[in-house]
């Protein structure tokens, strides 16, 4: 366990170095969040009753999403892992007494977390100072806040575990780029990163909510703003736990199969 913590620590420390990137990212996310909220405001002004969430809940959803973007972003993949596989440098990683899956899991979790830590607090602080209903509201209750934390951890795990499948699949392809682009857009759409899932038509939404993508950012962001009933939350948490276990198991299997089949590229 200690070795995986060390991987986590090194990667985390490395991620904290990128101050300028964090600052630029924060500004972008702030504008992005603001534009998004203004767009929704226009819709709500047309007919507020037509929407499943209040404008305040939507604003909170968007600010939290922007603050924790790096935890759940579908485009944030570890380039170093792809590079290692494509260039054959993975040979060195395989000469270590570590489980490749666990090591990469620790690394990508650390990468996401280090970036989120730098960005989340300033965004949350500013967003909570904005006037209602455009700012970020306080959590509906202490219980909602605790459940938000729990579902955020589970959703983060599901996100990392899902992208571990992408890394493992890279062993089978010559170049990871196509797979990356395809999967990133699919995940963004189904996870509710583009439009929150409650805004989809009921029939489609019910199917979407069963998919692993809904167990990523969708659950914690909606739990926070209390736009789910207790029963819905219980079901969503159960699904998150299920997908986390299933994705980790699938990723481990795929990884060990890939290692027996693979050829290391380049000399």
């Amino acid at each position: 366990m200690k070795k995986y913590c060390s991987f986590f620590r090194v990667r985390f420390a490395l991620g904290l170095q990128y101050r300028t990137a964090a600052l630029a990212g924060m500004v972008t996310q702030f504008f992005w969040g603001g534009m998004n909220i203004l767009m929704y405001r226009a819709f709500y002004e047309a007919d507020a009753a037509a929407f499943p969430m209040t404008l305040q809940a939507t604003s909170s959803y968007i600010w939290l999403q922007q603050a924790f973007l790096m935890l759940f972003a579908a485009w944030l993949l570890e380039n170093e892992i792809f590079d290692d596989i494509v260039s054959g440098n993975v040979a060195y990683e395989l000469c270590r007494p570590v489980n490749i899956y666990d090591m990469w899991f620790a690394r990508s979790a650390a990468n996401r977390l280090s970036r989120a830590v730098l960005r989340s607090f300033p965004i949350l602080a500013v967003a909570s100072l904005l006037p209602a209903p455009y700012g970020m509201a306080a959590p509906a209750s202490a219980a909602h806040f605790l459940l938000f934390l729990l579902t955020a951890v589970l959703g983060f795990g599901v996100t990392v575990a899902f992208f571990m499948l992408v890394y493992a699949l890279t062993f089978y392809t010559v170049s990871p780029n196509g797979l990356r682009i395809l999967i990133s857009s699919v995940v963004e759409f189904f996870a509710g990163a583009i439009i929150p899932l409650p805004f989809f038509p009921d029939g489609v939404r019910r199917v979407f909510e069963m998919l692993p993508f809904a167990s990523m950012q969708n659950v914690p962001l909606r739990v926070y703003s209390a736009s789910m009933t207790a029963q819905e939350m219980a079901r969503a948490i159960g699904l998150q736990a299920f997908w986390l276990a299933a994705l980790v198991a699938a990723g481990r299997m795929l990884c060990s199969h890939a290692l027996t089949k693979m050829t290391v590229q380049g000399g």
Partner: protein, 270 residues
């Protein structure tokens, strides 16, 4: 004790002719060619031996190293290193080996070398006392003290290679694989690496398996030479055997590089 018996490994390589038409055709049907990287390879290496493993480019050297270090699984044949099968007990096996790939880097690019070493210490679970002792010795022998606090990306190739070799020896492995460790190094660094490897072998009894195209490396380090070509073992002997077998047609002795070139041509393995 390393025992390799009847090991074969085949790769499938995609082929297509030059040109746009061929590229279009390959969209629909692809031709593959089977390349036998290793063909019934057998040898035994005792503890504490220093082996020069040589052969022309594409002979199967790197494939052998990758199989011995547990990265690749051969198609057939058996390998045991101290009673373990590398690709089956990979995690157990790699604890007792060290590997240097001359053309790759195992150090983290953006962090000081010492941070990479500490990560390796945790990965191999090296006890603190042993780690500081090994690190101290390696720092002294490879003259690393000035380099440890520098990020890897700012080291010269020679400096980096010294750091890479030290990284592979922090956990005091019993077997050390060196895959072209002196590639691209200047004369001073080459000699430093050679002296260090000799010393490591003498004082710690480390088994060393060295692949290189540099004949001076081989003659400075290896008492025993295994020559591989087209996936087969062609010669298992000493550096003098290479000299004799590769002598010029007239029979006069020649320099080692010429002897190797003659030998490759004679065996038709280029």
């Amino acid at each position: 004790m390393i025992r390799v018996e009847h090991v074969s490994k085949t790769y499938r390589v995609q082929k297509r002719s030059a040109g746009f038409a061929a590229a279009l055709t390959s969209l629909f049907s692809r031709e593959y060619e089977e390349i036998r990287a290793l063909n019934d390879v057998s040898f035994t290496i005792g503890d504490g031996e220093m082996i020069g493993y040589m052969g022309p480019n594409g002979a199967g050297k790197s494939s052998t190293i990758k199989i011995l270090s547990g990265i690749l699984t051969p198609d057939s044949g058996s390998v045991t290193i101290d009673g373990r099968v590398p690709w089956k007990n990979r995690i157990e096996h790699v604890k007792s080996i060290g590997v240097v790939f001359g053309q790759r880097s195992q150090l983290w690019w953006d962090i000081p070398v010492i941070d990479s070493y500490e990560l390796l210490r945790d990965i191999y679970a090296i006890p603190k006392a042993q780690y500081s002792k090994n690190l101290e010795e390696l720092t002294e022998l490879l003259a690393l003290s000035e380099l440890l606090k520098t990020p890897t990306r700012q080291l010269s190739l020679g400096q980096r290679m010294r750091c890479e070799i030290a990284a592979s020896l922090l956990h005091a492995p019993k077997v050390l694989f060196l895959d072209e460790p002196t590639i691209g190094l200047d004369a001073v660094s080459k000699i430093a690496v050679r002296e260090f490897v000799t010393r490591q072998n003498r004082e710690h009894g480390t088994t060393v398996i060295l692949t290189t195209h540099d004949m001076q490396d081989i003659s400075a380090l290896a008492k025993r030479v295994i020559l591989i070509g087209r996936g087969r073992i062609l010669l298992d002997g000493t550096i003098d055997d290479i000299r004799r077998e590769g002598a010029n047609p007239g029979g006069e002795t020649t320099d080692l590089d010429q002897a190797v070139a003659n030998l490759y041509r004679r065996l038709d393995i280029l």
